[in-house]
Amino acid sequence: MNAFHSIAGRLAALFALAALLVLSLLGVTLDRELASVLERQQIEQLNTRFQDIDYVLKRLREPEQWARIHAKLDAVTPPDHNTQYWILSDDAQIRYGNALAEIVGISQGTSSIGELRVGGRTEPLLMRSAYFPADERHASFRFIVGVDSEPYARSRRAFRSVMVASVSGGVLLVALIGYLITQWGLGPLQRLSREAHTLSPSLLSQRLLTAQLPTELSDLAESFNGALDRLEVAYQQLESFNADVTHELRTPLTHLIGNTQVALSRERSVPQLVEVLQSNLEDLEGLRGIVNDMLFLARASLGERPHELLRCSLAAEVEKAIDFLDFLLEEAGVHVQVQGDAQAPIESSLFRRAVTNLLDNAIHHSPPGAEIVVELSAGDGQARVSVANPGPVIPAEHLGRLFDRFYKVDAARTKNGESHGLGLAIVKAVAAMHSGDVFAASCDGVTTVGFSVLNDAKDSA
């Protein structure tokens, strides 16, 4: 059982099976061919013997010649009796041969070839007989020649045992050679596996050496290396994300501890203490915001889905978000235009949260007097929301990472507001919760950021 878990063992077994099949076919064909050749020889031998005597019998003139014929038959019968002659007749003078009683009455007709079983022999005799009707010189009689098939059968048996022995030997040999070839052929794979064993998580830049590998394996090793590349990127992102979280939490914590320690190190008046508590509370509220958002993102990335999806007009939901942001829009002197509409099953508060974050982001990056365009469309089983605002072009290398947690295009730019860089990450999480995706584009002075939600339900159509 265990041998079949190794490729070499399995291939050796398959080689053996193939050899068994081919050699057996070959053996059976040869055996058939040999049998027919032997049978032809046997019949030829029979016919030669028959014709020799038949010739004499046909020229029989005098009844006295029977003694000479019997003597001739005695002479041509070999000592091992593998050829035997019989003459059957009512006339005792003509009759010839041993064990006549057994043979009498077997053969009818004028001339025939057949088999004849004679006591004391395992193999039947191949016989040919001819009937001579009575005439003026002699009574009717039947002449029979029997050739023993035992030698032929013996040759066939010998051939068969040699065949079986050589087929089994051949199969074993093929299996052995197959095993050795496979072992040798799989050498590079074993080297590769030993090399993969040495890869360590602490050395992320380590890769498999593909140069000396055969083509089949170098493909595998290259795709494996590709996976390692992606893993390294993900790992680095995770590390930088951890660093970001730590940084985002460390700053307010440092402030809280220091602020409290300073306050407690001297006698303070009540207003001073109130001031400290208020400052602390601001930091704590900030921390609570980050923790809640991180919890939300963690739940989304663990595959949490909205509890209740209701099919509704996305434009109506966008209008609600605009209504909420109305004061901010007026303050920034920015106008929003909503184009199109789409129906999709969504959880309203999640959807509005995503749209609010997108609009808030657009307001922050729009110059005063600008117009933000929200476009809603449906197609390909998705409903899409895109928010476009005029603003400086975002370089392509930043676009794909806009939705990363804590990612900032320009670290110095997000000084304003309480935004901690999770707004667009939340948009991505909301999209994922609705089996959708996010997209971003930036060209010709317009930045478009948006997301899609799954829209496959046809029930309310």
Partner: protein
Amino acid sequence: MKVLVVEDDLKIADYLDKGLTEQGCSVDLADDGHDGLHLAMEVDYDVIVLDQMLPGLDGLALLKSLRAVKDTPVIMLTARDRIEDRVKGLRAGADDYLVKPFSFLELLARLQALTRRDRRGRKQEATELQVGDLVIDLLARKAFRDGSRIDLTAKEFALLTVLARHQGQILSKTVIAEMVWDVNFDTSANVVEVAIKRLRAKIDSPFKTGLLHTVRGMGYVLEERPGP
């Protein structure tokens, strides 16, 4: 208002006791599920604050046993914010739900909403609110200060009404966003700040005394304070 707090974390139980007592509630504490259930069965509370993870008897089991007998309003506290937990809690008969870390102001607003929901039938809804010399006519949807009409947008009026209904009580930005815009999610957009600034420009700036105050780190309160 009689409140039962069932919470095993001593620090949280302690500040809830202090905070709610100062708000004029009479507070009973229980630090495990069995004591909590016993008290909830024996005494008629106006509202129960129930932690979901408790030693002895778990919050959901306590709620189920309680609901078999009484329908005292219950607000659940939980550290886990999974939707299914929330659904389980609400299905077991909780009237509201708060996820830790929660703010005290939010808890207070929800407790009041729960008990008010209870009393609404008995008390006639006011048609006019007054804070100092500010008068709000809820039927005509108009506001006056010192006798002169203040021109407000619909949203500004809604914000003012919410603040006036809770006059003297500090309302956090989250609570205001929920009450005025029905926004029940966290957002970094500082809408409430901007809205307060605009409302203040209309109801306070033209007058000598301010009514709309900012409590740093906490939120906003509408009240008449003695002048300096």
